[in-house]
């Protein structure tokens, strides 16, 4: 067997973007991310690509299982990815990060929110904001509505557990008493135990931290059976989605989504739906889109497709450089870069700026609420 670092050969070639996202798992929560990557790469290539070549894309199915995910990473590495987008879950990212980065590729996730990934590898970046800020916003909303006690129902997975922790911290900091916390497994037959336990504690407000896919029956039960309303039931970003329950049950329910401009967001959602009309929830699609765009911009700034070189420019193009010019779309930013200007990309998910530990800061949130037809829009 022979050996040697391969990156040199990659430098000159086109930027190869691999994406490892769930196509078959997590109740479809990852499907919007798959489309987001497609949209991003199409836009980049429509605008002339990176360093004179078209960006090549290979999407693979991460499934929800590390065995198959590891295989999928193998195929991305063999293919020669410079940038790998994903994985969807924080847990899986932790499982594959060493494999990806060992090959010299850069890993950028648009959906990892777990704080335990902070600083795990110099080649690992993420564009998803940590859920702590969203938790603080939710707690603030609860206080604004005049509730001094709250209960939490959280999905029992990496995302849900981390969010729940943040939520409890935010509530405690605000002085809101958390009177009940319940977790549910996504594979359980029903969530009545959790709903009943929470209701039994008679909280003034309830926060639902779960994917839209699993929340329908809980909302039906909380609103329809137990009399909670849009004034005391709150939703997380992933809970905002399309439901098949009676729209009157959803009416007025609120939650926060990251993103600077709701109009841009709505425009973006349309593009995603054009790719895949079955999408039910758009959580983390924007940040995944940003992950692709910002790494492409970094590749332009680095004038190289090599993972390490791109990584070195990630902070700069996100606004880390002095005197950079703000830009909001790939074409705009790429033109600026071509003109030799330093750029500060502000993406779909907010200000987007990488801190020294490669986590993202500067996130803006908008409050969304359901209308009487079961779709949600920015709350007035």
């Amino acid at each position: 067997s022979s050996s040697g670092d391969a990156p040199e050969e990659k430098t000159g070639g086109p930027l190869k973007v691999g994406a490892i996202l769930p196509h078959t798992a997590y109740a479809g929560a990852g499907e919007a991310l798959v489309s987001a990557v497609d949209v991003a790469v199409e836009e980049i290539n429509a605008a002339g690509g990176v360093n004179g070549g078209k960006v090549e894309l290979k999407q693979v199915d991460s499934t929800d299982n590390n065995d198959t995910a590891v295989q999928a990473v193998d195929s991305l590495v063999t293919w020669g990815s410079n940038v790998v987008i994903g994985a969807y879950g924080s847990g899986m990212s932790g499982a594959i990060v060493s494999k990806i980065t060992e090959s010299g590729a850069l890993q950028v996730s648009g959906s990892n929110t777990s704080s335990s990934l902070t600083g795990i590898n110099p080649l690992y970046f993420r564009t998803a904001p940590t859920d702590a800020l969203e938790a603080a916003k939710l707690a603030d909303l609860v206080v604004q509505d005049g509730h001094a006690t709250a209960a939490i129902i959280a999905q029992n997975d990496a995302w849900g557990q981390a969010f729940q922790k943040s939520m409890v911290e935010s509530f405690t900091a605000a002085g809101v008493e958390v009177v009940a916390q319940q977790q549910f497994n996504t594979t359980d037959t029903d969530y009545s135990a959790q709903v009943d336990a929470v209701v039994a504690a008679k909280p003034e407000s309830i926060v639902l931290l779960s994917y839209a896919s699993y929340s329908g029956s809980m909302i039906e039960s909380l609103v329809g059976t137990h009399g909670f309303t849009d004034k005391n039931l709150y939703l997380s970003n992933s809970t905002l989605g399309k439901y098949t329950i009676k729209p009157s049950l959803l009416k007025g329910l609120r939650g926060f989504l990251a993103g600077p401009d709701p109009a841009v967001e709505a425009e973006f959602d349309k593009k995603l739906l054009a790719k895949n009309p079955n999408l039910k929830s758009f959580a983390y699609a924007g940040s995944t889109y940003d992950a692709v765009i910002v790494s492409a911009l970094a590749a332009i700034a680095a004038k190289s497709a090599d993972g390490k070189a791109v990584a070195a420019k990630m902070a700069e193009v996100s606004g880390g450089a002095e005197g950079s010019t703000k830009c909001k779309a790939f074409k705009e930013c790429a033109d600026l870069l071509a003109a030799g200007t330093k750029v500060d990309y502000d993406g779909l998910s907010g200000g987007l700026k990488f801190a020294s530990n490669n986590d993202v800061t500067e996130t803006a949130y908008n409050l969304y609420a359901y209308d009487d037809k079961g779709s949600y829009a920015v709350a007035p």
Partner: protein, 425 residues
Amino acid sequence: MTPSKAIRWLLAVLALACVLALPSPAAAAPADEWGFRGLLRDGEKQPVSGAAVQVKDGDTVVGSDTTDDKGRWEIIPVPGPGTYTLTIDTTAASGHFAGDEYEVDKELVESPTTLPVLNVVVSTTESSQQVASFTDRLAQRAVSGFNLGLLIAIAAIGLSLVFGTSRFTNFAHGESVTFGGLTGFVLAHVLGLPLLLAAAVATVLGGFFGYAQDVAFWRPLRRRGVSLITLMIASIGISMAIRSLMQFSFGSASRGMTEESWGTVTLGPVVMPATSYAGMGISIVVLAGVGLWLKHGRIGKATRAIAGNTALAATSGVAVDKITRIVWVLAGALAALSGVLLGVFNQVSFDMGFNLLLLMFAGVILGGLGTSFGTLAGSIVVGLCTEILVLWIPADMKYVGGLAVLVIVLLVRPQGIFGRRERIG
């Protein structure tokens, strides 16, 4: 105000101060308006209205507000990050707080994980919170458990029957449940049929689905004389194939079965949707019917005969293939019905049946494999334990309750509740 109340006030405020004093990582905060927002509650957790709240920077008052009828106050903006003194004067407030005044220092910090607006909820007591009584919760859990038990039973009876005739553990049975759920969804939600009609049609289609499985897989495999373990492994493959196919056509998301609602029924402390009671009623009727039919009907006896000794049953003139097919149809139909009920109870998704499979197994085994009333009893025990034990164990481990009871019962009765020991020799 009594001294003890005053102490509690003080403690609450101190606790708050401690929490706020925690060091937070400094970083750029989103540029926004800085300020304070809070609530004021009394010892009974009732809002205190009309209290005066002030924020002072040193001796300068930077803002003030009066609590509203919900006890809310808001002082925004204040100049920016820094330490402020917050005072609450309840002299003019409602309730028996008149004359008291409180003061505490608060710090506004810049951090990527906190907001520029600081929430300050002040309440005089930690937990005078009203909670539902234990017996009320027990009642609610017991009814839910019974409901779940019936659901498991109706799904598991098919599993038990198939085991009864073919002697193999069908890991693909969950997919028949899913089939019912998804069909029900299409009928009720997409085509808009009334729920009961949808359930009936889905059950019939489920029968066809069972039939199709037998024709497509099991009969050919039986013909080849494949061993039971091998059949079991084949069922794992079939389960995976059908499940993925359903995912392919239905998508990965879970969805509500129907928008139809029959309202809520409150029986004492137990609050449940009327549909759940209807589902329980249907389950009981169907289960009793099937159970009696199996015990006393000819086909029921034939299935048990085939289970015990297929070759001998054939030489006694039992049409093994035909009976087996009837069993598959029945198993498919019952599974589909349970899928619809489960969909109404919770939601439908491509893996709903697969997720129920383990509980079905537990029910079947607990009752003693191959006996239909055993399956019913076992399933209800599993359902009750799963739902009731969450009063003591964390709800995210709720299956542990149902599964643990399985293990414990088998320790005492290795043959299951209704199973019989074999004679040796």
